[in-house]
Amino acid sequence: MIRLDEVCKSFGENDVLRSLNLNAKNGEMLVLLGPSGCGKTTTLSIIAGLEKEDRGDIYVDGARINNVPPEKRDIGFVFQNYALFPHLSVFENVRFGLKARGIDNKNRVKEALETVGLDGFDNMNPMKLSGGEQQRVALARAIVTDPRCILMDEPLSSLDAIARERLRYEMKRLQKEIGVTSIYVTHDQVEAMILGDRVAVLNKGTVEEVGIPEKIFYKPESEFVARFVGMKNIFDGKVVSLDRDEGVMGVSTENFDLTAVFMPLGEGDRVKACIRPEEIILMKSNQGTSARNLISGKIINIFPNGHLMRVLVDVHGDEMSVDVTRLAVHNLELKSGDDVHLTFKACSVHVIL
């Protein structure tokens, strides 16, 4: 278990960590997610002993390790740029950690290389390998000493899309197989969603929110997290009606009314209503819907958004982003200026206090 208690760190004038609290449970993969400059990498460096915290405490398995040098912490680290030893073969790279500890067990090196799927690469020059293979070597090197936990600093972000996707699932499998407590830093939401047992969203040096991925991505508690995980449609509003029997409540924003799932709130309470762009259905004409929410609007713009198309719709003076497939844009002959109807379920309206 890793615990950070009120950790502060600044570089000159720049406060990178402000009383950061964090807790990684035994055997779990905790993902640190956040925009660049939010202190993710600094957090890892401090846990590994590669940076010195200004204030606060770091505990591993209950023992305070603030003053333990990195080589005595027994914490594996996987770097974004792999950081392999260019003058050593693949085998010797993996063997390094054992040798440094005075252990010379070639079988453990072999096992580690097999675990990451690199048997037969022993004598190769690591610099001649592909990015994905290099990162596998780095993984093998980190796990061979059987560390108490492993820290990974954007390990997949230098890889091409295909290698990244393949290694992503493999890392998840590997981590579960070894069962080692891991902290994984990324700014990639998909990665966080797939890899994390829990996700901690960092913002300006503190933890905004921690929770299981479903919670973070679909039911975030703060506006910052909601925006960061891609909830494009966030509207200020207030509760106008509560219907416990139907299990719904009415939320009125400045320009339109919404129906959301019932929450134990009072009428007049100020809230924020969030709707994910992919949970809205867009129709050319009002074909009737079982969903609780139906709003009319006019298309402002359509542009590509990954493999989907994002449609920007003016709804009574507010903007709403809707994700539709390319095929839908084509079939419905959507274009700017078209009048459309948007519909979504009450449970798609996520309410933040």
Binding site: E71, L84, F85, F96, A100, M127
Partner: protein, 272 residues
């Protein structure tokens, strides 16, 4: 930079006859011609038999041995003090580190005569090191050469240490390696080529050192007469044959140095 150069090269092979191209070739030709003819003059100033005779004369032979001995000791001392100093400068940031940095480069830039004078004063009758009694001895030669030549090693080794990816060092530490173990197993091997080029440069500089050596050790035949001092003394006394023979030897060693230096300089980065 390299990419740009290659592009220029390719363009030039397509359009070889611009007037600028002709102007460039002309200026470069004059300059290279000048250098080559001066070197050729030295080469043709002696015959092979004369060369061998001169080198076998006891005084010249002893000066060659003395130069080789002192420069060898200088390289060893420079390695012993220079590599740790370089590592220190490359890995530590402290108040005044940039001043120290400049200070170490000073002997490279300042005239050797000035360095020699400084050593003369420091080790002379009133100097703080007067009890060492090194003036006009072989120890004096070694100190003068070390003073002037070791900055080349420090500079080269330091650049090599600095060019190591810091994450590699961090990775070694998280894998359980102490700072010393990391230095031995990671930093030193990775800086190897930089250190080798530094050694070669230091050796060449020590071998060719004249001004500081002459100031500190004087010009005593058989005792403190190094090759460069021999060249000067014999040229001044009209014995050009001895000077030419020694010069040719130095020229040859300089040439070898450059080849070695270029080889290790180019392959400084073991990652390719």
């Amino acid at each position: 930079m390299v990419g740009y150069g290659l592009c220029e090269k390719r363009l030039n092979s397509i359009y070889p006859c611009s007037s600028f191209h002709i102007l460039l070739s002309l200026i470069a030709g004059i300059f290279f011609g000048f250098i080559v003819s001066v070197i050729a003059c030295l080469l043709t100033a002696t015959s092979f038999t004369e060369f061998i005779d001169v080198i076998r004369s006891p005084e010249i032979f002893s000066s060659i041995i003395l130069s080789l001995e002192t420069s060898f000791v200088v390289v060893l001392l420079a390695l012993f003090f220079g590599v740790p100093s370089a590592y220190f400068l490359a890995t530590r940031r402290f108040r005044g580190s940039s001043i120290l940095d400049t200070l170490i480069d000073l002997p490279i830039v300042s005239p050797p005569l000035v360095c020699g004078l400084a050593i003369l004063i420091a080790f002379g009758g009133q100097g703080i090191f007067r009890h060492f009694e090194v003036l006009f001895t072989i120890k004096g030669i070694i100190i003068a050469q070390l003073f002037v030549a070791s900055p080349f090693l420090i500079r080269s080794a330091r650049t090599a240490f600095e060019s190591i990816n810091p994450d590699t060092i961090k990775a070694a530490r998280t894998l359980g390696a102490s700072e010393f173990y990391t230095f031995r197993k990671i930093s030193l091997p990775l800086a190897r080529n930089g250190i080798i080029s530094g050694v070669v440069m230091t050796w060449a500089r020590a071998l060719g050192e004249f001004g500081a050596t002459a100031m500190v050790a004087g010009c005593i035949p058989y005792r403190t007469e190094t090759m460069t001092i021999g060249i000067y003394m014999h040229a001044m006394s009209g014995d050009l044959g001895a000077s030419v023979a020694l010069s040719l030897l130095l020229m040859f060693s300089a040439f070898t140095t450059l080849i070695v230096f270029k080889y290790f300089g180019r392959y400084n980065d073991p990652s390719g």
